[in-house]
Structure formats: C-alpha cells, structure tokens
C-alpha cells in the first residue's frame, strides 16, 4: 500500500462511526467480561473459604478424643469430680458444656474450671495432646443410681461416660 492510499484511509470519513462503535462495544464487552471474571472469582473464593473452614473444623473434630479416667461422686459434699485425658491428636481441647443426666433429669453446667490432678488450675483452660485434667461440679445433688455424663467440647465433639452416684 503506498502513502497516498494510507493518507486516504486516515482522512476518509466514511464508516468512521461504525469502527468507533465497534471498538467501544468490544472494549465494553471485554471490560464487563473481566469484571464478571473478578466477581465470580471473588464469590468462589468466598465459597472456598467457607468450605475450607467447615472442612478444617470437621477434621479438627475428628481428631478430638477424650478419655474418662474416673468420675467420682461425693455424696456428702454433693460434688462430682471428673478426671479426663486428651488422648486425641489435636491440642487445645476446651470444655464447653457438661450434662449430667439420668432417665428423669438433666443438669447442665457451662462454666467449667479445669485443674490438674494435683488441684492446680490449668492456665489456658484447655487440654493439649496427652494432657490430663479434672473438673469438679459442685452443688450437684444426685440420688443413688446410674448417671450419664456428657461433655461437649469447644469444637463441638460429644463424649459420654456412665458413672454410679
């Protein structure tokens, strides 16, 4: 193409509006497409995060395991002493709620104070792997019989134990 023709093309006015409109339209479509891509990625990453958290929580729950070493009810003092050990594979096991029940009644305790077996309070109030701990439920008036002790951990796991009052 010689220079004359190039000059003619640049200076020619015919169909300019069609080219411009097409460029604008294409640009707008690409811009919208990228916006849609970013929005979709944002939404999917939010979903990923939510799913990942739920999965991590499930895995952590799966790793929790609590062993009941002994549960002793002191009739005269109306106290139940429960001795536990974290025999799972995850640290920081906390105790959220404790239920003491039999066929006729349920008692709920949500303020649990964890101590070592020697009575010293556990500073972080949780049980790490292999750690032993104990808590005492006071003012617990139980009739003689078999009771179920249910412990709900901070991660939502449930552990049951039966004892005789």
């Amino acid at each position: 193409m010689d220079l004359r023709k190039v000059w003619k093309l640049l200076c020619g006015r015919r169909a300019v509006s069609v080219v411009v409109s097409n460029v604008i339209l294409t640009g707008a479509v690409i811009a919208v497409s990228f916006t849609v891509l970013l929005w979709a990625q944002y939404r999917s990453s939010a979903y990923n995060k939510q799913f990942s958290e739920a999965m991590d929580a499930d895995i952590a729950k799966l790793k929790e395991r609590l062993a009941f070493e002994y549960a002793f009810y002191n009739q005269s003092g109306s106290k139940l002493s429960v001795y536990l050990m974290n025999c799972g594979t995850i640290d920081n096991m906390t105790i959220q709620t404790v239920y003491v029940s039999n066929s006729t009644s349920v008692k709920v305790f949500s303020s649990i104070n964890l101590t070592n077996f020697n009575g010293v309070e556990i500073a972080d109030q949780d049980l790490d792997r292999g750690e032993e701990g104990c808590f005492v439920l006071s003012s617990l008036s139980l009739q003689a019989g078999t009771y179920t002790l249910r412990i709900i951990t901070g991660r939502g796991s449930t552990f049951d134990h039966t004892f005789v009052a």
Binding site: I30, S33, S44, N48, M55, K63, R65, A67, E69, G130
Partner: protein, 339 residues
C-alpha cells in the same frame, strides 16, 4: 439465480458482516471464565476431600490401634502399710500393639472411707512383654484413712485412653493343696515318665509319655508338674535329697525304688551335678526325678523300674527350704502300674 449462487452470496454476507462480533467475544470470554472457575473449584474441592479422607483414615487407624490394645493386669493384690497401699500386679501386653501405661488409680471401696488416689506412670510394654511387679513396692499410693482390712479396686490407664482393671488374684483354694496341708500342689494330669535316648539324655524331653502305666525293668525317669501355692507367697527351693519313692506292696516284704531329683537342660540331658531348683509363688515347673543316687552325696546313675505286673503307689518326698526356712513335704496319691 441458482441455489448454489444464493448460498455463496449469503455466506459472504455473513462473514463480511461485523454485527454481533462483540457478542461472540463476550460469549467466548464467558465460556472461558466458567471453565476456569469450575475447574479450579472442582480441583480445590477434590484436595479438601482428600484432606478430610486422610484425617478420617488416621482416625480409623487410631481407633483400630485402641481396640487392639490388650494389656491385662494379672495376679493383682494389695499390700497395705499405714495409709500406703501397694499394688502387686503382673502386667502383660497380650495385644498386637505397643502400649504405654500412664496412670494407676486405686480406690478404697470401704463404705467408711471411699477415697482414691492415683499415681503417674510411664510404663512401655511391647507386644508379649510381661512385667512382674508382684515383688515390687513401686506402685504405692497414699490413701488417707486406708487400712489393711479395707478392700480396694484399681485400674491402669493407657495413653490411648483404655482402662485396664486389676484382676484380683484368687485366694489359694485349699483343695488345690494335698489335703490342705503343705504348700506344693501336684498336677496329676501332667505326671509323665521318660525313657532314655542315651545314658544321660532323656528321650522326647520335655513331653515324655503322659500316663500311669510304665514299662517294667527299664531305665526310666519321672516328671512331676509342681506348683507353689504357699499361702505365705514365699519361694520354695528343692535340695538334692528330694526324691520320688515307689513302693511295691504286692509281696510279703514291700520293696522300694526311688528316683532322686535332677537338673535337666533344654535338650533332655541330665546334669551330672545338682543345683537347687527354686519355685516362686504361683509358679509351676516340671521337676524331673531320674537318679538312683542323691546327687548331693554321689554321682548320677540311672534307675530301673520294678518287674512287670505290679501296681505301686508313688510318694514325692520333697525337701529343701521355703523363704529360707527348712521345709519338707510328702505328696502322695499317684499310683502306677508297671507293665
């Protein structure tokens, strides 16, 4: 205009027409975006599921290990001194996985003193290992108000969270002992005799021939399964004067034959000299009687059985010491027939 020409014209018009170009780009982008997002979400979800499955597998393995843990606490007993309660026990790992015992709990079950105590332990038991803590005072806890007349319950806790109850030893059943006298019991069903492979070697040792009809006029040795059931729980040691005595009553004058105690090595060879055999409390051993001479006084020589066609009673004349104090016991009641 032919149909062919018309189609070509339409095709050129379609290609040359720029209308709808942006829609094509938009659609292409949308398809790419959708494919990219769905693929990445799918792969990521797959990886999360793998993580969960891995955690589940680990959990199942732990559960299987926990169930396979099988430690038994046998021969349990308690020794009480003041308020100190010592647990005497034999721990045996009868399972297929190694086990760590981390805690011992002892409970005084007496209604007047329902108290308990625990002791932290760190005992590692490989499969098949037997840990005898009967004579040890290591497992001692202090229970305020405890005394020897109280009854106790105890259990061990493993690192996997299993509890092992102590199986309290059965008291000695008097009928297990010869008429309730003496501290040694003989298992009649394991009484056996041995023929000789050579001058000093027993044939088919230690199985021998279980039975009460013994070949006559032959070099024979006898094996008796003895258990120490001493109520004082002391070890019994046999000296070389212990013997198995056979009386032949079917003649005007009773005749006797005897077989002195000997030491036999694994392959059935009888030692020329005798070293005292010790039997711990609760232990059962096969004691061999083979020598015509007391090995404390003379050398080993084989003994022959009486002639055929004779029934004869057998007495075990056991001599030695119990807990360091001189002891002797005669165990009767086996009878033999020489054929």
């Amino acid at each position: 205009m032919t149909i062919r020409l018309s189609l070509r014209k339409r095709s050129r018009k379609l290609i040359a027409n720029s209308k709808g170009f942006s829609s094509v780009i938009g659609t292409t982008f949308m398809v790419l975006v959708m494919m990219f997002l769905s693929t990445s979400v799918f792969l990521w979800t797959l990886s999360q599921n793998t993580l969960y499955n891995e955690a589940l597998r680990a959990r199942n393995q732990e559960e299987a290990d926990r169930r396979n843990e099988n430690v038994v606490a046998l021969s349990g007993n308690y020794s009480v001194s003041g308020e100190d309660v010592t647990v005497k026990v034999v721990l045996k790992n009868a399972g297929s996985v190694a086990s760590q015992i981390i805690n011992l709990w002892v409970l005084d079950t007496d209604p007047s003193n329902r108290r308990y105590a625990n002791k932290s332990l760190n005992l590692n038991l490989n499969p098949g290992v037997v840990l005898d803590l009967v004579t040890s005072s290591w497992l001692t806890v202090t229970i305020p108000g405890a005394n020897a007349n109280h009854t106790f319950t105890s259990w061990f806790v493993t690192a996997r969270g299993n509890t092992i109850p102590l199986e309290k030893e059965q008291g000695v059943i008097v009928a297990q002992l010869a008429q309730g006298i003496g501290s040694l019991a003989l298992d009649f069903y394991k009484f056996r005799y041995f023929e000789y492979e050579s001058a000093t070697k027993l044939k088919n040792y230690p199985n021998g021939n279980v039975g009460f009809t013994v070949p006559a006029n032959q070099y024979i040795a006898f094996g008796c399964s003895l258990t120490n059931l001493d109520p004082g729980k002391q070890a019994i040691v046999f000296d070389p004067h212990s013997l198995l005595w056979v009386i032949v009553p079917t003649s005007d004058v009773p005749h006797s034959t005897w077989w002195y105690i000997v030491n036999v090595v694994q392959d059935g060879t009888i030692n020329a000299t005798y070293s005292p055999i010790s039997l711990a409390y609760g232990e059962t051993k096969m004691i061999i009687f083979a020598s015509a001479n007391d090995l404390g006084l003379s050398s080993f020589s084989r003994q022959t059985t009486p002639k055929a066609g004779l029934p004869a009673p057998v007495f075990l004349l056991l001599h030695g010491n119990i807990g360091g104090i001189a002891y002797g016991q005669n165990l009767p009641f086996v009878s033999l027939y020489f054929a």
